[in-house]
């Protein structure tokens, strides 16, 4: 295997991106209290999945593409999207990534390889295979990263797409972020593999492709597993299903309520619905972001002061993103009718 472990600079890049995702989303969450009414509808956070996102996307090269779900803030941040434009989109402003038309659930940044998101569970998986077909025809060794949750693997679209992608040896890597819950349902309540004590990666076997389960809170482990899958895809040997085990540290999303009811983030379902506080607290202790910082400091790749400085820089960057978004005007109403057709 030619895959090299990441060097010091890459490891620090990983921490930087993890901190940026965490801090950006903390500002999204805080907006509900700092600026009530500024965020509307539904937002979903990736806290707990940062190591998985960053470990996987550490293999992204120019020309590759990424497709994801409505839990979509982390990918474009890692790919280089402007956090100000992202926050402006989430605030529905004219300077938003999608001109205020999409909002939090539908971030798209084609310029940075972030081809699109869907708010419908599982719907983006075939889109990724389609993009992979385009890559296959171009023959430049490009791959497509398809991110989705454990819940999506019970959709027909998941199984139909994995079959075709394997049959056609499409250059796509399916990264299933298994966070243990689909909204308020635990995986073992709705997944036959999980209920039988099997990893969800076994679903790959039905579609004749490798299926690997990895600790999604460890960026190095994800880097290694996704790296192998990406190599395989770039070499024309077809797709891989990676089950990346993470723990969503926030609730599924902010509360769902009609206007007039202030939106906020409720407690995680483990506590609010199932009364499993110990499970949630254990997940918090395993929080991948401080853990990875600790690893880098312990290995001498970063001094505590250096890590603090990095954190401060990220805080400042996301503060600027919030200020930029708040200052951005609302789009002109004419924009509402502009993009139905090309």
């Amino acid at each position: 295997m030619s895959l090299q472990p990441p060097d010091a600079a890459q490891r620090i890049w990983m921490l930087t991106q993890m901190l940026r995702i965490r801090t950006f989303e903390e500002r999204v969450k805080r907006t509900f209290t700092d600026h009530p009414g500024v965020i509307r509808g539904h937002t979903h956070l990736a806290d707990g999945a940062e190591a998985s996102i960053v470990g996987a996307l550490s293999h992204f090269r120019a020309g590759d593409a990424v497709l994801a779900t409505y839990r979509c803030h982390g990918y474009p941040l890692t790919l280089g999207s402007d956090p100000g434009a992202m926050m402006a989109e989430i605030y529905g402003r004219a300077d938003g990534l999608c001109k205020g038309l999409g909002g939090s659930m539908h971030l798209t940044d084609v310029r940075h390889g972030f081809l699109g998101t869907s708010g419908i569970v599982g719907a983006g998986i075939p889109h990724a295979a389609g993009a992979a077909w385009a890559a296959q025809i171009r023959r430049r060794g490009e791959v497509v990263f398809s991110f989705f949750g454990d819940g999506a693997s019970k959709q027909g679209a998941f199984h139909e797409t994995l079959n075709i992608a394997s049959l056609w040896k499409l250059p796509v890597v399916f990264v299933m972020e298994n966070n243990g819950y689909n909204v308020v349902t635990t995986t073992s309540q709705e997944d036959a593999s999980a209920a039988a004590g099997e990893p969800l990666a076994v679903k790959a076997r039905a579609h004749a492709m490798p299926g690997v389960t990895v600790d999604g809170t460890d960026p190095l482990a994800v880097h290694a597993v996704v790296g192998e899958a990406v190599e395989r895809a770039r070499a024309g040997r077809g797709p891989t299903l990676v089950e990346s085990k993470v723990y969503r540290l926030s609730a599924h999303g902010n509360i769902i309520a009609p206007p007039g009811v202030p939106l906020h983030y409720p407690e995680h379902e483990a506590i609010a619905v199932f009364g499993k506080r110990a499970e949630y607290e254990a997940a918090l202790r395993g929080d991948p972001v401080p853990r990875w910082r600790g690893v880098l400091v312990q290995n001498g790749m970063l001094t505590p002061a250096g890590a603090d400085e990095l954190t401060a820089r990220v805080l400042e960057e996301m503060e600027r993103a919030v200020s930029f978004a708040l200052a951005s005007p609302f789009p002109d109403t004419a924009c509402a009718l502009q993009y139905n057709y090309a």
Partner: protein, 319 residues
């Protein structure tokens, strides 16, 4: 009468029928994940189950269970999630009875929220009633009040056909008087929400409240609008609408859907065909713009009918 929110009234309708008929099932995503869930605790795991995110299987299983004698109610949450299972909704459930020459029946209810125009952007805000109302074999209920929510749900469950029960998400917490005890609202019977003789104003769901608000504004100008809520769009109570048109000669149709996918377009065609001579002015439609619903607040407000646009349309019809 009991005071309760619209969403509780829907549950009351399901409870009423589940207590009465052991053939009624209730299942869907994120439903009954703990033992103390009110439906699971009351009716048990034979009849109340959580499903994975698998709309095609959920609705397809409902079709099969219905053909085998049960009465499933599928909790879909968002109307758009039915689109994942378009075949089962449009080309399976409503076809089976016909194709079998009347041998089987498919009594099921697809319960789905719609029209959540409060920042839910392009994929969770649709007003899809018109998509379903033209499918022979499907019935479509669109309750606008808590009482209708209970009564139409109960009727939907008792109906021997597949029913798309579309509850409006923006009405979720609206309080209303709801009859206690057994309560049914017939399908195909419109409700006149306000009497008037100058113009017939037709609206469903959340748009009923905006039409009524417009009617109040217009009353101050001496214009008396008759506001009619069809309550089910399939079957559609054309008779009540035509009777009103005979009186007023003027029609304004309000619909949260885009113009070319609206119930109002179909009602307009029916009224034009049957009452051309009674009309004293062209029919005016107040619909959403023909666009995907934008996320940003001022844009969303711009594309969806509001009270001012409805009132202006009435003035136009009276000109």
């Amino acid at each position: 009468m009991a005071q309760m929110p619209y969403i509780a009234a829907i549950d009351a309708g399901i409870h009423q029928e589940m207590r009465r008929d052991p053939a009624v099932l209730y299942f869907g995503q994120n439903l009954a994940t703990t033992e103390n869930h009110e439906f699971l605790a009351a009716y048990g795991a034979d009849r109340v189950r959580v499903t994975p995110i698998s709309e095609t299987a959920e609705i397809g299983i409902a079709v099969g269970a219905a053909m085998a004698g049960l009465r499933p109610v599928v909790e879909l949450y968002m109307a758009e999630f039915m689109l994942v299972a378009m075949d089962q909704v449009i080309n399976e459930a409503p076809r089976m009875r016909y194709m079998s020459g009347g041998q089987v029946k498919v009594p099921l209810v697809l319960k789905a929220g719609y029209g959540f125009a409060c920042g839910w952007a392009g994929q969770h805000t649709g007003s899809l009633a018109a998509l379903f109302m033209g499918v022979p074999g499907l019935k479509v209920a669109v309750p606008a009040t808590a009482a209708d929510a209970k009564g139409l749900m109960a009727t939907a469950i008792r109906d021997d056909n597949p029913v798309v029960f579309l509850h409006h998400y923006l009405l979720t917490l609206e309080q209303g008087e709801v009859p206690e005890g057994e309560y049914l609202v017939p399908f195909g019977k419109a409700e006149v929400r306000r009497r008037g003789s100058d113009v017939t104003l037709v609206a469903t769901g959340w748009m009923v409240s905006r039409a009524l608000a417009a009617a109040e504004q217009l009353a101050a100008e001496g214009i008396e609008a008759e506001v009619i809520d069809p309550r089910t769009v399939a079957p559609l109570d054309l008779e009540t609408l035509l009777t009103s048109v005979d009186k007023t000669g003027r029609v304004v149709l309000v619909d949260q859907a885009p113009r070319h996918a609206s119930v109002s377009a179909l009602i307009a065609a029916d009224i034009a065909e049957h009452r051309f001579k009674a009309l004293r002015a062209p029919i005016v439609q107040v619909t959403a713009a023909d666009t995907t619903v934008p996320y940003s607040e001022p844009l969303e407000a711009h594309v969806i009918p509001d009270t001012a646009r409805i009132a202006a349309a009435v003035r136009q019809a009276l000109r």
